[in-house]
Symmetry: C2
Subunit: 207 residues, 2 copies
DNA sequence: TTCGTCATGTAATGGGTTACATGATTAC
DNA sequence: GTAATCATGTAACCCATTACATGACGAA
C-alpha cells in the first residue's frame, strides 16, 4: 500500500462512471469523452492500463452477467468485460470526492471533480468552487500585472491573445461566482429548514 | 535530418522569443509564462534541457556580450548565459512558422503559434485560424450530438459543465470568426492596392 | 466474404513536472 | 552577514499518447 499513486484524473473518472453503472472499457471511454467533451480526451492506451491497475488493487472487479443459456459454453473468448465497483472502490471514490485540494481545482482535475458534484458533499463543493475561483484570480492578477508592465511593447497579435485569454478566464470567474452564489443560497436554505426542525447538520455518517 | 523530434511547443516558443531579443534561461521562462499566461506554464526542468538540446543542434548559441573591462578576469563562473539564435535557428524558426498543420491549431500549439503571428505569413495565419476554427467546430458538433442523445439523463452538474464548455468554445469560434474576417479584409485590401499599382509601380513597396 | 465498428490490449515514446542541489547577486 | 531572489542545472518520475496487434461481430 505504500506509494501506489493513483492514475490521477482517470482514476476518479473511471470510479465515478462505474459508480453510476457497470460498463466495459470501450463504452467507458466513450462516456468519458462525452462527459468531459471540451476539456479532455483519453485514449485506450491510458484507459486499459488504468482499469488493470484498479482491478489489481481491488477497487473494481469484472462483472459478467452470465447469460449463457444460449448454448455458448465458451462465450468468454475475448468478449466484453464489464467492470463494476467493489466495496473498496466505493470507499475510495468517496474519499476522492471528499478531498478539496489543489487536485480538485487545478486545470487538470477541476472538470472531472465538477462532473461528479452530485455525489459530492455540499461543503466540499463550495470549497472546490472557491478554490478554483481564487486560483483563477491569482492568474488574472499576475497576467494583468504583466500586461501593465509591458504595455505598448507588445505586438498586436500577442496583445490580442492575452486579451482573449483574460476575457475567457474572467468569464469563468463570473460563472463560478454564480455557482457559488447558488450553492450558498442552497446551504442557507437547508440551514434554515434544519434549524427549524431543531437539528444540526448531519455530518455525513458513513451510511 | 534523421529523427530528432523537436521539443514540441517549447522549441517554437524559445526560438520565437530569442528571435525578438537574446536572453538567458531564467528571463526566458518568465517571458514565456507571461506571454502564454492563461494557457501554459513551463518549468525550468523542461526549459533548460530544451536549451541544451537547441544548443547542441546548433539552433542557438551562447552570446556573452563581453563587457569585461571592469577588472573581472574570471567573471564567468556561473554567471548568466545569454542565448541568441544562429542562422540555422532563424531558418528553423521560419520553417516552424510556415507550416500550418495540426500542430499549429490543436490545443497545445495554437497559443504559441498565434503569439508569433506577426512573424508569420498572412496566408499561413489564415490557414491556421481556419484550421483551429474547424477543429473547434468538430468538437462542438460531437458534444452537441452527445448532449442531444443523452438529454434528460444527465444530472444538473454535468449539464452545467457541458454547457459551460460549449459556450466557451462557441465564444472562441466567434473570436476566430472576427480574426478571420480581419485577415481576409486585410488580404483583399493588399490585393486591391497591388493590382492597382502593378502596372507601373514596382511591386514590393514596403512601408 | 469482406468491411466497418466494436472491443481489448501492449510497447515504445514523449513531453513535461517535482524535487532536489547549488552558485551568484541584491537589499536590508 | 543573512535572507530573498536570481540563475542554472539534473534525476526520478508521471501521465498519457501513438502506433501497433489482435479478435469478435454485424451488415452489405
Amino acid at each position: 500500500m505504500a506509494g501506489k499513486k493513483g492514475a490521477g484524473v482517470l482514476e476518479l473518472a473511471v470510479l465515478g462512471l462505474l459508480h453510476e453503472s457497470p460498463m466495459h472499457g470501450y463504452e467507458l471511454r466513450k462516456r468519458l469523452n462525452t462527459l468531459l467533451g471540451m476539456f479532455r480526451a483519453f485514449s485506450y492506451g491510458s484507459l486499459y492500463p488504468c482499469l488493470k491497475q484498479l482491478l489489481t488493487s481491488g477497487l473494481i472487479m469484472e462483472d459478467r452477467p452470465e447469460e449463457p443459456n444460449t448454448a455458448l459454453a465458451l462465450q468468454s473468448r475475448r468478449s466484453k468485460i464489464v467492470y463494476k465497483l467493489t466495496a473498496d472502490g466505493k470507499e475510495r471514490l468517496q474519499q476522492l470526492l471528499t478531498e478539496a485540494g489543489p487536485a480538485s481545482w487545478e486545470d487538470e482535475g477541476f472538470g472531472v471533480h465538477f462532473a461528479f458534484f452530485s455525489h459530492t458533499r455540499a461543503d466540499v463543493r463550495l470549497r472546490i468552487l472557491e478554490g478554483r475561483r481564487s486560483r483563477l484570480e491569482e492568474r488574472l492578477e499576475s497576467v494583468r500585472a504583466a500586461l501593465a508592465r509591458t504595455r505598448e511593447r507588445v505586438d498586436s497579435y500577442t496583445l490580442e491573445l492575452q486579451n482573449h485569454g483574460l476575457e475567457s478566464v474572467e468569464r469563468e470567474v463570473r460563472w463560478l461566482n454564480e455557482l457559488i452564489g447558488r450553492e450558498r443560497a442552497e446551504q442557507e436554505q437547508q440551514a434554515r429548514s434544519s434549524s427549524q426542525t431543531n437539528q444540526d447538520m448531519p455530518r455525513e455518517n458513513g451510511r
